[in-house]
């Protein structure tokens, strides 16, 4: 499949209400061509609504959406020519086969991908002529992914792509998304999985209550957060607390008995000091871990709420 022109996305002041609920409250972000951008947020943050507005499934109350320089609200058909998408909730007719479905969907586009190539690429060769109703969940997932590439899009939008997948399928999909990014396509995905966002995305936008509360590279967001790294240690005997608090770099010391957590501004100095302290006490280390701040800490800092593990199928 020839690499298409990467596509930029620009979203400005997007707002959408459902009755009294404000699902989106002035969402603004940009995705550069060839970038993997993740919309990250807990249940009801507005991720799916934002993607649906971008894809033209839902009309925003106000705001602007530009895809590859095309005003997606004024010319949705044009925007869809360069955009492929995999939705959370979608299905096909029971008796349609992957080959027929790909061939049908491809027939609507100006520059369709070669159906045979898609079937091979997405591992559907053996099931190409099998009815949709007989495909497994994983095969269906691959078919919908293939449908997202049926127009050889410059922008691929994936709504919670790994939701409901088993660990193996999830790993495969992660690899695939990374390859897609490397092929020069722009990827816009939503996820509630912090690890997934950190692993896959060049940049993320954290959505909370319909508003982007932070955007940037995951590492930058973590670095910029005020949360310190920590050293977690488990010893044979309880160490001396006062001496631990006075170790170099230590900003906080919590724990009891044989288990302690030392917040630190200088991990190396704290580790070195801790080793010497325990040796001098004749104590022994049973476990030692350096805990770096995560996006979970960033979220807590930005919203004042801990990250809640979302349930499957949240929108």
């Amino acid at each position: 499949m020839p690499a298409p022109m990467p596509v930029s996305v620009r979203v400005r002041d997007l707002a959408r209400r459902y009755g009294r609920v404000e699902a989106l409250r002035g969402v603004t972000f940009e995705v550069a061509p060839g970038e993997i951008f993740g919309l990250l947020g807990p249940n009801g943050a507005g991720k799916t609504t934002a993607l649906e507005c971008i894809l033209g499934l839902r009309r925003p109350d106000s705001g602007e959406i530009e895809i590859a320089g095309i005003d997606a609200l004024a010319r949705p058909g044009e925007a869809r020519q360069v955009c492929g998408a995999q939705l959370q909730a979608a299905a096909l007719q029971d008796r349609i086969t992957p080959r027929r479905a790909l061939s049908l969907f491809a027939s609507f586009y100006r520059e369709p991908a070669e159906v045979g190539g898609l079937i091979e690429r997405f591992g559907l060769a053996e099931k190409a002529d099998e009815a949709f109703e007989r495909l497994s969940e994983g095969q269906r997932q691959r078919l919908f992914l293939a449908l997202a590439f049926v127009n050889n899009p410059g922008l691929v939008v994936l709504d919670e792509p790994t939701a409901g997948l088993d660990p193996r399928s999830r790993r495969e999909l992660h690899r695939f998304i990374q390859e897609t990014g490397r092929s020069g396509r722009t990827v816009l995905l939503s996820t509630h999985d912090l690890g997934e966002a950190e692993l896959l995305c060049d940049r993320i936008g954290i959505l909370d209550h319909g508003r982007i509360v932070a955007a940037g590279r995951p590492s930058e967001l973590i670095r910029a957060s005020g949360t310190a790294p920590a050293v977690e240690v488990r010893t044979v005997r309880p160490p001396n607390r006062a001496r631990m608090e006075s170790l170099p770099g230590v900003t906080a010391c919590t724990g009891e008995g044989e288990r302690w957590r030392l917040g630190t501004g200088d991990v190396n100095a704290t580790l070195f000091g801790l080793a010497r302290l325990l040796e001098s006490e004749g104590n022994e280390i049973l476990g030692l871990e350096v805990v770096k701040p995560t996006l979970e800490d960033v979220f807590l800092e930005l919203t004042g709420r801990p990250w809640a593990a979302p349930e499957e199928g949240e929108r």
Partner: protein, 444 residues
């Protein structure tokens, strides 16, 4: 391929897919083809004794088939696909919604038309029902009726939240039309209030259009109002259905829903009122039902305008005889009285034969043409009585192409042969002149 050409290409592929998937679905085949056959058999078991069997019911049978396909089949498919998220996926395509919906509707027209053709063929084979008098008009009628009902189906799909709701809303349309709308029970068998109510339902007009195409020599040229009614009702429902169309499940009634539903229902009301105000709610009896089924409303709806004068070149009619006619006229009277074709078992056909004599006298410009016509009128009154003659004449006026006519009567001194069409035309004129007199609308 350019963008627009690609889009059309895609929409055509979608249309073909709809057809193919329908033919692969057992459920669709049962509802689409087996149920119509069941209805045909049900009608056949009731009306098979008529001659020819089912000839006067084919409009009803075809209407039921179309109603089922349009008001149940299509919305059930649309709603089940919507519930499963298929239409949500379609919406990501770079084509307007209308194109995809039109594909579904076009496929449904073909499927329903195939079911209708199957019914016609089975009726012909199993019950010896004659084939349509106007096959092309009947086919066109099926398409028109189907398109109109698909408009209703689209609205049903937009209103229904799920498949059971389609069944509920569909029955709300289906049952009244079957019971009091002239679709299941013939209009002639309904009480007056139900006949009036039927004018507000599209089923009546569908039956009228299809029956005229199927068995009436006049064809659908007389179905202008019915076709207009179907077009208005179908178009309003289709517009409302398109405006309320849902890509995904979950939206419930809002103010706009009620407004568009009002637009669709207004079309029914407006059509019924127009039919009522223009006197079109008179019952059209099926042709083979004979003159006995002609109603007073039908007789009242017959016009007598623009008839030629009695002493004009066409359709002359002598003044009533003062006493017993003698001379040559007396001889003609005696011959007419004994003329065998005037004494058949079917009073309606016998009357048509006698009227042929008046028509032949007129077109052959017999020196006694006016007297012959008067003799025929007197003879008919004497044999049938005014009440029955009124119905016979009305039946002949309403169904001028029914039965047979005599194109030459040498035994009555009218040996020259004329074209059937001109004889039928003159029969129509004389029938109106006679009926007008019987009703007191023409002075003798």
């Amino acid at each position: 391929m350019k963008g627009r050409t690609r889009a059309v290409h895609g929409l055509f592929r979608h249309f073909l897919l709809c057809l193919e998937l329908n033919l692969q679905s057992k459920q669709a085949l049962v509802y689409g083809f087996l149920v119509p056959v069941f209805f045909l058999v049900a009608f056949g078991s009731v009306f098979r004794a008529e001659t020819p069997a089912l000839y006067g019911q084919m409009g009803q049978i075809l209407t039921i088939t179309i109603l089922g396909g349009a008001c149940f089949g299509m919305p059930t498919l649309l709603v089940s696909e919507r519930e499963r998220g298929i239409w949500r996926r379609y919406r990501l395509l770079p084509v307007p919604a209308g194109g995809l919906v039109l594909g579904v509707m076009a496929a449904r027209v073909l499927i329903v038309s195939a079911a209708a053709a199957l019914q016609v063929a089975l009726a012909h084979v199993a019950y010896h029902t004659p084939l349509p008098v106007h096959p092309l008009q009947t086919a066109a009628g099926v398409v028109v009726v189907c398109t109109s009902f698909l408009g209703l189906g689209l609205l049903v799909a937009a209103l229904a939240d799920d498949v059971p709701a389609v069944q509920a809303i569909g029955q709300c349309l289906f049952l009244p039309m079957i019971m009091i709308g002239g679709v299941g029970i013939p209009l002639g068998a309904l009480p007056a209030w139900a006949r009036a109510a039927s004018g507000f339902m599209p089923g009546r007009y569908a039956v009228e259009v299809l029956q005229l195409g199927y068995s009436d020599a006049r064809g659908m040229s007389h179905a202008g109002f019915a076709l207009g009614a179907l077009a208005v009702i179908g178009a309003c429902a289709a517009v409302a259905g398109a405006r309320l169309f849902r890509w995904e499940e979950g939206r419930h009634f809002v103010r706009a829903t009620w407004s568009w539903l009002g637009v669709a229902l207004f079309a029914w009301a407006a059509t019924g009122l127009a039919a009522s105000l223009t006197g079109r709610l008179a019952v059209l009896a099926p042709p083979n039902a004979g003159y006995g089924a002609v109603s007073d409303e039908q007789i009242a709806g017959i016009g007598f305008e623009d008839l030629p004068g009695d002493s004009e070149f066409v359709s002359r009619l002598a003044r009533p005889f003062a006493g017993a006619a003698g001379g040559p006229v007396g001889e003609i009277r005696a011959r007419i009285r004994d003329w065998a074709p005037g004494h058949g078992a079917d009073a309606g056909q016998s009357a048509r034969n006698l009227l042929s004599v008046a028509a032949l006298g007129d077109v052959s410009q017999d020196e006694h043409e006016g007297e012959i016509a008067r003799l025929v009128f007197d003879e008919l009154r004497g044999r049938l009585g005014d009440a029955e003659l009124r119905r016979v004449l009305a039946w002949i006026i309403l169904y001028p192409e029914e039965g047979s006519v005599v194109t030459s009567a040498p035994e009555l001194g009218l040996g020259r042969r004329f074209r059937e069409a001109i004889v039928r035309e003159r029969i129509d004129l004389y029938s109106r002149k006679f009926l007008g007199r019987l009703l007191g609308k023409i002075r003798d």
